[in-house]
Subunit: 284 residues, 2 copies
């Protein structure tokens, strides 16, 4: 393990990227908002295999939080993050200041017309504009050959694939499987906020996906039946409130009424104050 | 003069750019919509001095034309353009198809929040979104070190500088001075549509700028007086109708009431069916 190098300025990161590319090196980027957990580390391990140089960005991006969302309270643990990323073989941590990425007069945003209108985008109207914009910036700063994103944030992954294609980014976008606790709960920085009772109820997301796959395997094709059954399951958990349950096309995210091929089941559930998401491909 | 190479696909252009960059070459891009005139050629000459490889793109970008604008009738002269660009030392002509740049499902746009609200953006509401999007795409496809744009399209130049800064494009944006006919009319593909009488009246744009500089030199600082005098001058030309006359900050494009330092005077005038633009810096 070599020492990980911390870079704070976009210009300096760009110079490093230019130097490495000129030397024939390939770069992989794992963008994060810090407070790293096993899910992030699995992205790094995948990225590590794909390129000579691994860059992990740590930046809590203000433009992807709406008013009243948890920007101010988003957990931070920078020293620990550096240690963890270093253990996974990261060569660079890119951790810019907000002022560096959003200077005075900043006014340019990357927007998608359709994909942000589904799933999480419905309750978070500015979220994906912020994600698309900061990812575009990170792509131009780090100049990676490969960028790795978690399948847990499925809508984000679909949006970034589309953005990369539409804006002709010469970058391989890789989706990495969701990492789970032994009982099935998807790893998330937001799990930190759960009380023991909430932690138990949080399992309803994973159970909903398992249950839905079982129904599909038994031959159910009517997605309304699956949604109804899922609602009942989640309502049986006192701390849980459904935000959305969607069975949709894996690429366009449009709702599917009758299952004929693989569909994505995605759901968001509020557990206490935390909004948790999960998803799975359901195969008939 | 070496033969200019014509490239029709974004992927192929990207491969050439990667190959050239790996070989240590620098690239300059001159984006055009074809129908090249002396103005474009002057951009190429400037770009030619700035890099090892000159790429000229020729693409009539549909997303920057609003409904009822002149997309369908925009003049084309591809063979002649190739010849002219070749004479200026272009190494590559990048001339993609519409389908290649805007595939099925395309939905990602680059938008600026403030700068497109001024000058030409007021009467062309989707124009600069289309420009910002296609320029972002061309930057990612051609991967230039330098890109050259005409100062004649002043608002476009300011928008692209801001976009490049906001999205962290590692590209030097160069503005090239307006090329004029001997009598002062700015060169434009749209001059082609002018009758001899209109051609005479079209000179009112340049005369307005000259007259305004004379007023400023004489000590006039109240921009309203300059705008009023300019309106009278343009109204005296039977074929001319004012679209806008603006004296504004060179960077933010916000209106200036009292001239204290350099301001941009920009104007758009309809001459017959053609909408012509021009601008100049006025120095007190």
């Amino acid at each position: 393990m070599t020492a990980v190098k911390i870079i704070r300025s976009a210009n300096q990161m760009q110079e490093e990227a230019n130097r490495l590319r000129s030397g024939g090196k390939t770069l992989a980027l794992v963008p994060t908002m810090g407070y790293l957990h096993e899910g992030h580390l699995s992205l790094m391990r995948l990225a590590r295999q794909r390129a000579d140089i691994l860059v992990v960005s740590i930046f809590v991006n203000p433009t992807q939080f709406g008013p009243g969302e948890d920007l101010a309270s988003y957990p931070k643990s920078f020293e620990r993050d550096v240690q963890l990323a270093g253990n996974e073989g990261a060569d660079f941590i890119f951790a810019p200041s907000e002022k560096d990425l959003y200077p005075d007069g900043f006014q340019t945003y990357v927007t998608l017309q359709e994909l942000p209108g589904y799933l999480c985008g419905r309750s978070r109207p500015v979220h994906f504009r912020g994600v698309a914009t900061v990812v575009t910036k990170l792509f131009n700063i780090v100049k990676p050959h490969t960028a790795v994103f978690g399948q847990k944030d499925y809508q984000q992954l679909v949006i970034i694939r589309r953005l990369a294609r539409d804006l002709n980014f010469d970058i391989d976008i890789v989706g990495s499987p969701t990492v789970r606790e032994p009982d099935g709960l998807a790893k998330s920085s937001r799990n930190l906020y759960l009380t023991p009772v909430q932690r138990r109820d949080a399992l309803c997301l994973y159970q909903s996906l398992q249950n839905a796959q079982a129904m599909v395997t038994e031959g159910v094709t009517d997605t309304a039946r699956i949604v109804d059954r899922t609602k009942l399951l989640i309502q049986s958990c006192p701390e849980a409130t459904v935000d959305y349950i969607s069975l949709c096309d894996p690429e366009t995210l449009k709702n599917v009424d009758t299952i004929k091929g693989p569909v994505i089941m995605a759901l968001a559930v509020k557990i206490g104050k935390s909004r948790l998401i999960d998803n799975a491909i359901l195969n008939p």
